[in-house]
Amino acid sequence: MGVVQLLTTNRKLLRWVFLALVLALIVTLPLYGGRYHTSVLSFVLVYVVLAVTWAMFSGTTGYMSLAPAAFFGLGVYSMAILQHTLPFPIVMVVGGIVSFAFALLIGLVTLRLKGIYFAIFTFGLVVFLSELVQHLETRLRNTHGWAIIPMNTTMILYVALGLVVVTMLAVYFIRRSRYGLAMLSIGGNEEAAGHMGVNTTMVKVLSFAISSVFMGVAGVIGATQLIYINTAVAFSTIYSFMPILMAVFGGMGTLYGPVAGAVVFAYLDTMIRNEFPRYFLLIFGIVLVAVILFLPNGIAGLMPMLQERLRGLKARLRKGGQTEQHANT
């Protein structure tokens, strides 16, 4: 009784208990979930990282990056190329560094681009990288694609969980810092932010690069779940648009929003691919349109919207009742 009362009155405690339960569930899943579910959950966690880091940069600064697939793909290829020569943890570091360096370069080149030009540039970036890698691949190896040696699913799950925890902590502290405030001010009004003394270029480039580090490492982990990869798989635009969809669906204003969106859509993704593989494109397309159209602020924005509707309905009912009374008297 006391425990229930404590939980219902103390929301902060409730949140921690919930978090601990989720963590415990993830950690113990390999014991009873079997290899399939463990592997699916690992991929969900990879998507969580993509969605959270995308929201960290694009959600706050307002610069829509369509490049997550580029950094994810770089991670995948780091894994494919280095899997035989280096141990897994070092490959993760390499994947992160490669993505960081590339993002820094791109950031420095594109810092003058505003609005839609940035979106176009990052969109083309994925295609550019894909073509370049494919060209080098055929030139140097004369083959297409790589086989990835499967790894212990339990180990991968824990690694992915570790990455999620590190990502969440990093994003949490960035959001709370002066630096996060600078990012938000760029999203609000970049010119004004510049006049207030924010080094907008530095903040943009650095936050773009930081978010890419996590995407690159996510790519390395994601690669272990793909049995065979080529440029079409690694640099698929789905890795760019899925995180955006997840972040928008979950709501970008909060830290948990993109996580919720990622969990929902990553499971939906696997479900559709398994149950209706032929209709995947159709369903995904319609869901994307519907979410943008009907849930522009995500599910986080849905609750206040519903409450408002309900209040309006109640008021109307009450008013209706009153007019009826008037009619009677």
């Binding site: 073509e131 159709l282 943008i292």
Partner: protein, 291 residues
């Protein structure tokens, strides 16, 4: 090597006509409706594969097919703007938010169209080439279909330019692009203009599809590639500038032929991208874009 260059340039100009046509549609849609239509290339793809069906079932030639696919795409574009994008615009709190959401919605539509095309036509290349007779022109061997396609593309480009600059409807469209609120006060039905422009953009893609189907065989997988080329061309020419898109289309056509002829065809997108990167650094608004 060097003696090849004039031939490649002529071929490039001819190929660039279709790129220009495709890009003009995209630039119109962005310039007026503020929608960066990622589905654009898929419309051209649909035009191409529909041409195959029309040719094989009705025995008509691709030019007649273009007269069918163009208006069909116009209707699809018109309806999309009237329903989806109009509703989205009404819900968006600001212009940048609308542009971002419209891009994502267009991506969703792209998936649906790809799905329909893959169901209907499969993933194979369909044979549609027509008028593949060789013609000697100033010492260069060309194919008749390339010349015909280029002529039609130029004619349509000029017609569109004249329509936008000289006609009453064109003026209403430009007014809507510049300032929708004021245009509305002046009696322009802005919603209708937006839908008309989006439809017109789709129409151009719907004609570019059959024209390129005359020269190379289309497949359902080509849409995304079309979009990427159109995006590069549009950015090169200046987003929203119709003549800029046509000029940039021809430049990209020449570049593609030069890279394919002198270097390697798998490098074309990489080279486009290098050009785009340099241009964005030097002149972020494109060749003929407004500052």
């Amino acid at each position: 090597m060097i003696e090849q260059i004039p031939e490649l340039v002529v071929k490039g100009v001819l190929a660039g006509g279709i790129y220009g046509l495709l890009a003009m549609g995209l630039t119109l849609q962005y310039g007026v409706c503020r929608i960066l239509n990622i589905t654009h290339g898929e419309f051209a793809m649909l035009g191409g594969v529909l041409t195959y069906t029309l040719i094989t079932n009705l025995g008509i030639n691709p030019l007649v097919a273009a007269a069918v696919t163009g208006p069909l795409m116009f209707v699809i574009g018109f309806v999309l703007q009237m329903t989806l994008f109009r509703a989205l615009k009404a819900r968006s709190p600001s212009q940048p938010v609308f542009e971002g959401s419209a891009l994502l919605v267009a991506f969703g539509v792209m998936y649906v169209i790809t799905f329909i095309a893959q169901r209907g036509w499969g993933g194979l290349r369909l044979t549609t080439t027509w008028l593949a007779t060789k013609v000697m022109f100033a010492g260069v061997t060309l194919f008749l279909n390339q010349i015909v396609a280029f002529a039609i593309a130029v004619a349509l480009g000029v017609a569109l330019y004249l329509f936008l600059t000289r006609s009453r409807l064109g003026r209403a469209i430009r007014a809507t692009a510049e300032d929708p609120a004021t245009a509305g006060l002046m009696g322009v039905d802005t919603n209708l203009m937006l839908a008309f422009c989006f439809g017109l953009g789709a129409l151009l893609a719907g004609i570019a599809g059959p024209l390129s189907a005359m020269i190379t065989n289309p497949s359902t997988a080509i849409g995304f590639h079309n979009t990427v080329i159109a995006l590069i061309v549009v950015t090169l020419g200046g987003l929203g500038s119709v003549p800029g898109s046509f000029v940039a289309g021809i430049i990209i056509g020449i570049v593609s032929q030069l890279v394919t002829g002198l270097w390697e065809s798998s490098f074309t997108v990489t080279v486009y991208y290098a050009i785009l990167m340099i241009l964005l650094l030097v002149r972020p608004t494109g060749l003929l874009g407004k500052r």
